[in-house]
Symmetry: C2
Subunit: 111 residues, 2 copies
DNA sequence: CTGCATCCAAAAAGATACTG
DNA sequence: CAGTATCTTTTTGGATGCAG
């Protein structure tokens, strides 16, 4: 969500789901609502800052719903909206492509 | 292609096609080979540096083939490899998702 | 025409300490 | 537990000039 206009749908979709984490977060939420700490553990390499930042952006986009339980200790659950679920579905073929070619890609020299 | 290991296929695929331009370049090449200047015109807002940079990375990944014609003036054609085409196919649903929801997304306040 | 090299600015990401 | 605030590092993008 950095741009304001898109040249095509693919442009828009990549803008929304791009970046290092959003697709993974979407996937982490695909089957059931997750708490903040739960997500942090699932995406073990993400910092708290990035996690909350990405979640907020996805909430703004209407991909994710945030449910606050006013308790002590606090509890917040994140879940996919319908839009989020439809995006997740659209990402499935991409995930399969990745599964199939992951090893090839990992084997490419980076430097 | 910033990472060396992936947590899942989706992770890998987003890494490969992520960034501001790669998906658009892939799409620009989907029907026929394109020359450098042609691509530059199709992606009107890209700088030469970014275009060549992204093309090189995609070449390294095995997504794009680069064919040099030793002529004066020089001519270079870029085309999709089979891997590139399969990735493009995997991106189709994402493009459709984008087409469907683009206006909603564009309407979201950025600041 | 196709590209490389350099320098610079902006944005994204990360580490760490702190709070209700 | 679920964040905020601040600072630093890394990555990305862009402008310009030069070359085969």
């Amino acid at each position: 969500m950095k741009k304001r206009t898109y040249s095509c749908g693919l442009d828009a979709a990549v803008d929304v789901v791009g970046g290092k984490w959003k697709a993974l977060i979407l996937w982490a939420l695909h089957d059931e609502p997750r708490r903040f700490g739960e997500l942090r553990r699932m995406l073990s390499d993400i910092s708290e800052k990035m996690l909350i930042q990405q979640l907020r952006e996805m909430e703004t986009c209407g991909l994710v719903h945030r449910e606050v339980y006013h308790q002590v200790p606090p509890k917040v659950e994140y879940s996919l909206t319908e839009l989020g679920q439809s995006l997740n579905t659209a990402l499935l073929p991409l995930g399969e492509w990745g599964d199939k070619h992951m090893e090839t890609i990992e084997a490419i020299p980076r430097d």
